[in-house]
């Protein structure tokens, strides 16, 4: 009897488990989250549709906004595959082999996470700009990188370089090399081993990393803002177009453009939710 009573007491004892504490904490967190995170989302939708559905569509099909959407999608189509390939290659190098300087390499892969996008933009300008390292050479050969498409690609590549690698490295690390060694000893080529043994086992991490990479590429503002030159209807990606419309006092237009980026963000979060449901090991989204 006494034993059961004690067990009941032990089983129910939890810090913060008292109903009053629990209710207060939950209420406080929900109120804060509604004010701080949900309200901005609602504002975006409310202001985007301030002039009705017709006004919303009219704002989106503006040629400059359409061009910005096109440019943003184009940038993602170029950058995401490159950084996915890089992420896989880097993960293979640092997880399948031991070599001196390996920890340093892992740190360098993560480097862009700690660099402010503005600093990244300034740094790129100091390589490819007129005053930069390669400036005179590029000018002599008539190659335009700054304030043009290549600069937008380079800035996006810089900022999102670690995204896929960060998702894949921890998983490949835990998987070790046993399965690859088995495949190789059975006579599979290195490429076949990678395609049929390694890649299938990390595919969800790769896809999730690519989705995160895509969200960041489409939403990148600071670095692209420095290097694109903000040329109206030419080098304006969607986030830059949002700023431009806002400064033109076209608030509904700015929020209509912003709503497209919000949709991308919400789909990215939905992807994480679906991946978790499937039991895929996904880390938190990082910026």
């Amino acid at each position: 009897m006494a034993d059961t009573a004690l067990r009941t007491r032990v089983g129910t004892f939890k810090v913060g488990g008292a109903p009053a504490v629990r209710r207060t904490l939950l209420a406080a967190v929900w109120v804060m989250t509604l004010l701080f995170i949900v309200a901005p989302l609602v504002t975006i939708i409310a202001l985007a549709f301030a002039k009705g559905v017709a006004g919303y569509i009219q704002n989106l099909v503006e040629p400059a906004t359409m061009h910005a959407i096109f440019l943003t999608v184009l940038t993602a189509l170029v950058v995401v595959p490159i950084n996915t390939a890089f992420g896989l290659t880097a993960a293979w190098a640092v997880t399948k082999f031991r070599f001196p300087g390996r920890d340093l390499l892992v740190t360098l892969i993560d480097l862009p996470y700690s660099i402010s996008p503005i600093v990244a933009g300034v740094a790129l300008l100091l390589v490819y700009g007129a005053q930069g390292l390669f400036g005179p050479f590029l000018a002599d050969h008539g190659i335009k990188i700054m304030f043009a498409l290549p600069a937008i690609f380079l800035a996006s590549l810089f900022v999102t370089a670690p995204f896929v690698a960060r998702e894949v490295i921890p998983l490949m690390q835990t998987q070790g090399t046993d399965e690859e060694e088995a495949a190789l000893s059975l006579g599979a080529s290195g490429w076949k081993t990678f395609m049929y043994v390694t890649l299938p086992s990390v595919r969800w991490s790769v896809i999730y990393g690519a989705i995160l990479c895509n969200a960041r590429v489409m939403g990148e503002f600071g670095a692209v803002s420095v290097v694109s030159g903000n040329i109206r209807g030419v080098t304006n990606t969607l986030p830059l177009q949002v700023e431009l419309l806002y400064h033109d006092y076209n608030v509904t237009g700015a929020f209509a453009a912003a709503s497209v980026l919000t949709l991308v963000a919400l789909l990215t979060i939905l992807a994480r939710f679906i991946f978790e449901q499937r039991g895929a090991p996904v880390g938190p989204a990082r910026h």
Binding site: V10, G11, F13, K14, V15, G16, A18, L25, L26, V29, W30, M32, T33, F36, I37, V38, P40, L41, T43, I44, F86, T89, A90, A93, F97, L105, L108, I109, I115, S116, P117, I118, V119, V122, A123, L125, L126, L133, F158, A161, E180, L184, G190, T193, F194, A215, M218, G219, F221, P239, E243, Y246, A258, L261, A265, I269, F273, P284, A285, H287
Partner: protein
């Protein structure tokens, strides 16, 4: 050393180093080179000018304020998500990802609309005499928004892994809840909590997109350091832009070292706990 049986070492390592070298390290090196070319005297003059110092002070102070806010709100969020079951838990968990997933410019635009004098929150606040948009308070708000997931996502898994065995044992031995919180739970999550806070602080120092909409960007009042670097570029003052950007990068590297030190302390701590 074991013979390497897995192929592709040279190829994968070579490609990784070459790619990182061109895409990331070359620009970083160019920035440091340009900043070194400026020379110590001029460098000191740029960083020591009142406008730059004011921008640095504003950025550090608002980032500290934002981090303090997130230390409380983020810790409460992490605790609630890790410890309680309640309807809408999955939704709340997903909402924590919003600040990371939402482009910074969009976040800045939305916060400005909310907190401007005619906004949903700005109007009642203005009636109480509190101005948020176009003041340092607005900068703090934008920083807090973009960095809150760092605290939640570093602390949440640690609370989940903590289990309730030890605190139950302490409870049966007669320890009060407050005592258990202070002597058992808080020491266990403290390193992760500190890591999360230092990540949030670093992110706030470098944040740009979310801030420039809400800041008002008045020199010596609401001009953050990242914006000043951007302004110097637009004025074609490359030495000043390089000096400011290099300083920001050095601060970021220092923060990275501090964060890594906390993390390795955390790992040692976790090992000892097992």
């Amino acid at each position: 050393m074991r013979r390497r049986t897995i192929p592709g070492f040279g190829l994968s390592l070579g490609t990784t180093i070459l790619y990182l070298g061109i895409v990331v390290l070359l620009p970083v090196a160019a920035l440091l080179l340009k900043a070194a070319e400026v020379g110590p005297a001029q460098f000191a003059a740029i960083i020591g000018s009142p406008r730059t110092l004011n921008a640095i002070r504003l950025t550090v102070l608002t980032a500290l304020g934002a981090t303090l806010f997130n230390a409380a709100y983020g810790l409460a969020l992490a605790w609630v998500l890790a410890r309680y079951d309640f309807p809408g838990k999955r939704l709340l968990d997903a909402l924590v990802d919003v600040p990371f997933a939402l482009p910074t410019a969009v976040a800045g635009l939305a916060l400005t609309a909310l907190f401007a004098k005619n906004g949903w929150f700005g109007r009642p606040l203005a009636d109480m005499g509190i101005a948020v948009a176009y003041t340092p308070l607005g900068i703090m708000l934008a920083m807090a928004f973009t960095s809150v997931p760092f605290v939640v996502r570093t602390v949440q898994p640690v609370i989940e892994d903590l289990g309730t065995d030890i605190e139950e044992a302490a409870g049966t031995l007669g320890a009060s809840e407050w005592r258990i919180l202070r002597s058992i739970i808080f020491p266990a999550i403290f390193p992760a909590f500190l890591t999360g806070c230092s990540l949030a602080f670093s992110r706030s120092l470098g944040e740009f997109g979310a801030i420039i909409f809400i800041a008002g960007n008045q020199p010596n009042y609401t001009e953050i350091i990242a914006l000043l670097a951007f302004i110097r570029l637009e004025e074609f003052d490359y030495p000043a832009a390089a000096a400011i950007a290099a300083t920001m990068m050095m601060i970021a590297f220092a923060m990275l070292l501090i964060t890594n030190a906390i993390q390795s302390w955390h790992l040692r701590y976790a090992d000892r706990g097992d």
